[in-house]
Assembly symmetry: C2
Homo-oligomer: 522 residues x 2
């Protein structure tokens, strides 16, 4: 894509055609400047097949806001829309609508609330609430979902991988396997969700992190092709980077060649007063090889070097490796915990694409319209009751129990204040007779989750740097029940409705279906 | 990301840190301007779990070339690299190297061959062959893989979905589920591989296609919230778009409300002299509902309207729907083939993320180095023999049999001309004793696949518009054996080595391993 094409393809037209045809329809009906409210939420956790996530980490908001701030409908966009033709050769978009769009095609009219980036979030809870003129809020659907779905997906995967690695250093290596420039968004989300550093140079620069990386097989191959060997390649590396000497040891044969050569070079470095960093294993049985590597490095007096593991890692693979190390290391005279504490994880493909469930199904649904200054809830009925979105303006609360752990998220009507009630009723979101009662004695905190972000296009929240988002993530994950954090078959966290919201939803469903029922029984 | 940050994160530093540390090492050793050859290839077809691809479609090259042409190392990039510090606080990159990089940090020195976009490609065949100064060709690894892996993955998935839909119109709907701006690359690849149109407005504009889309549930919901109903919403749509009237019928109840209301509006349109386009089904049992929809539309005299299906479609789901229609439609008095011929597929999430196998493992391996004007083959040994790349300069040939179908791809040394031989030996790529002989009588064509693309940075090939790439794809897919095109358990297409390439590889492996073997047996 040429630079000018990129401006077009990533600008105001970075949306689906039907958003524009609907916007024109609203314009023709005189509805385009009526205020609407759209809720953005996802319906289920990423499900990786064998193992389903028990929580997600919100991410992507800042980049969405940047896009909104820097995007408006340009003359060239209008010219293009003018040129679109329908089936009989007429214009798709009329001049009056395009004139309006030229003037109003920006996001200065949008107000937004959101659950901030870095926070733990759950299904069917509004993560982003958009209010604005119907035509503009409608066009925003696609870019909003595009920016938020993917980063939330990857921050979630990263959080799981970080947990399975027992919090040890984890590096994001996915640039070559992401979706074109989307890989940068993936690296950012990984850094929010659990990665400590990334190999991606430009993105690390932009976010203020030191990118990580040493050398690849090609360096060793080059020396071999020139008639030298792995040892000479390692020596060259140690000469150039004496204080950052981390050697990839599997180009020829890990145990027979790579590690012995690395140890020779480490000894030379030590004699010169430098501290070698460690080795990287990128193929083979990483549990077995890391035990053998630890044994050999320990014997040579390098027990404080790190062992970086890479090659198709994800949370299950890491869990398996650690389990195997715990069992087998002692047989080789290696202390398992010491080995586990020196491991570093380089995670590429399976993180950047969220292998196992590569898309988060976040949606953006009209939940209310302002008609003559009165907000009216809107509904979309779904065949499966639990897919019917929750209508109207809502508050989102997180309720903490006596241990200080989050016990449920509660959606209420706008004027409800569950923290001031002596008893909180948590209604199951789709089953009529299922509910839970919480006495105020057993509740230590009722926290409001949605924060004002934009008021008519103006940023009214402070956006934290990545470091702040990580602190949020750590604090939130710490307040989850261990069962919810479990890698396999986690406890299902409760997302509930208040009694009043539940009743309002039932009434709306009944009235939407009544014309059908009356037709069916004449 | 702010616009200036985007320039940084998508520019010359859009690579992995280790490419830069290796480039500096080559510089220190005086190797940085030696010519190297890197082959880009993938090792296995996408494997979607139940079903594995039998071929891939090459895509992404033009956007890679655009990136290379518009990217160079800027002063700001140098400033940043200067600021990188190592573990003891010293500089990672020295001034001499950075001076060289400032001058030479672009891709004007790169020569490239490639199998053109749109062509059918197979594992272990070089799709892209890069020659250039080692330091620059090394830095190019990450952006090259980033641009080519993803588009080839999606073009492949699109080709499969197109085949399972029996070539009927297929629309790409994935913008909201792709990886940030990477979704544009996915839409392009889908258009190369099998999609006829996309809903993505900006990208369609850039590529010269009419974007597709009509309306979403939100339009119907809006009318309901304002005290009107689905029928009024449909009427409004028909008023604004009388010649493009395609109605989404599942907001309330498809059979009880959506289709009857659509038929009312279609009749009104017809009375006014307009031809209604059709309906879209986006939930429920799409096979059953499409049969019922066809029955109802036929009875009302709208048997020439289309039925668009969407909602988590992929090649297996489409195959299942068609199988079910074929069996069940006659029971409802609907002619199955007529129904199948009026279907249109809207494919979103599962196409844009290549659900089932969301990353293509393309790699970029050093295969030769030019030392004192002599090219020396380079090797990386892998524990599994079939992962060891094929060293040296190579030719890639596609051999067609008497039916005119492609029967094998053959890698040979540079000076071999298998088309001029009376007998072609196809050696299995990893098993010593396995080979196949082809007499020239049974060969109708031996085609050279690699095309010169760049000569020292200058474009020397004509790049076709998407329409030309689609023609290439159609022609190539047509020349595949039906067994290779099969959706489940396809025939394994042969990718073979010539006898001479096989022997050269064996010798190199033996000589690389000899120091280890001699150490093991002292």
């Amino acid at each position: 894509m040429k630079p000018n094409e990129r401006e077009t393809a990533e600008g105001f037209l970075y949306t689906d055609e039907y958003q524009l045809t609907m916007a024109q329809l609203y314009f023709r009906m005189g509805l385009h400047e009526k205020s609407g409210q759209f809720d953005h939420f996802f319906r289920s956790y990423p499900d990786y097949g064998l193992h389903k996530a028990g929580y997600c980490i919100a991410a992507g908001l800042e980049w969405l806001l940047d896009w909104m701030e820097n995007t408006h409908c340009r003359d060239e966009d209008i010219k293009y829309l003018k040129s679109q033709t329908n089936r009989v050769g007429g214009r798709v978009f009329g001049d009056d609508f395009l004139d309006w769009l030229r003037k109003n095609g920006n996001f200065d009219s949008i107000s937004m609330q959101a659950i901030p980036e870095g926070r733990v979030v759950h299904p069917n809870v509004p993560l982003t609430v958009v209010q604005g003129p119907l035509a503009i809020a409608q066009i925003l659907e696609t870019p909003l979902l595009n920016h938020l779905n993917y980063q939330t997906l990857i921050a979630t995967k990263a959080a799981r991988i970080k947990e399975s690695g027992r919090g040890k250093v984890m590096l994001e290596f996915g640039l070559r396997r992401g979706q074109d420039k989307g890989a940068n968004a993936g690296a950012r989300a990984a850094l929010i969700g659990g990665a400590d550093f990334s190999s991606n140079v430009g993105l690390s620069h932009v976010l203020g992190y030191q990118p990580k990386g040493t050398h690849a097989h090609s360096m060793v191959q080059l020396f071999m092709a020139l008639g030298e060997g792995e040892l000479q390649a390692f020596r060259a590396y140690a000469d150039v980077y004496p204080d950052d000497c981390l050697l990839l040891v599997d180009t020829i044969d890990t145990l027979e060649s790579g590690i012995p050569n690395a140890i020779i070079v480490f000894e030379e470095l030590r004699r010169k007063g430098h501290q070698p960093v460690g080795i990287r294993l990128d193929s083979g049985d990483l549990a077995y090889l890391s035990i053998q590597a630890a044994r050999m490095l320990d014997q040579a007096g390098f027990s404080d070097t790190v062992i970086v593991l890479s090659n198709n890692l994800d949370e299950l693979v890491i869990w398996q490796i650690l389990t195997q190390i715990q069992e087998e290391a002692p047989r080789y005279g290696v202390e398992a915990d010491h080995l586990i504490n020196r491991l570093v994880y380089g995670v590429g493909t399976r993180l950047i694409v969220s292998d196992g469930d590569p898309a988060l199904g976040g949606v953006y649904k009209l939940v209310a319209v302002c008609d003559d200054d009165i907000w009216v809830p809107a509904l979309k009925i779904s065949e499966s009751h639990n897919k019917t979105p929750n209508p109207g303006h809502k508050h989102v609360w997180r309720i903490y129990d006596q241990r200080g752990k989050a016990t449920a998220d509660l959606l209420t009507l706008e004027d409800e204040r569950p923290g001031e009630q002596s008893e909180i009723i948590l209604h199951h979101p789709s089953q009529t007779s299922k509910f839970r009662e919480l006495r105020s004695e057993s509740v230590t905190e009722v926290e409001s989750l949605l924060v004002d972000i934009l008021r008519e296009g103006k940023l009214v929240a402070e956006l934290l740097p990545i470091e702040g988002l990580r602190e949020r993530r750590d604090a939130d994950v710490e307040r989850l029940d261990p069962g919810v954090r479990r890698l396999m078959n986690p406890h299902i966290y409760h997302v509930s409705l208040s009694e009043r919201l539940w009743n309002m939803k039932q009434e709306l469903v009944a009235s939407a279906l009544s014309p059908i029922h009356s037709r069916a029984a004449p």
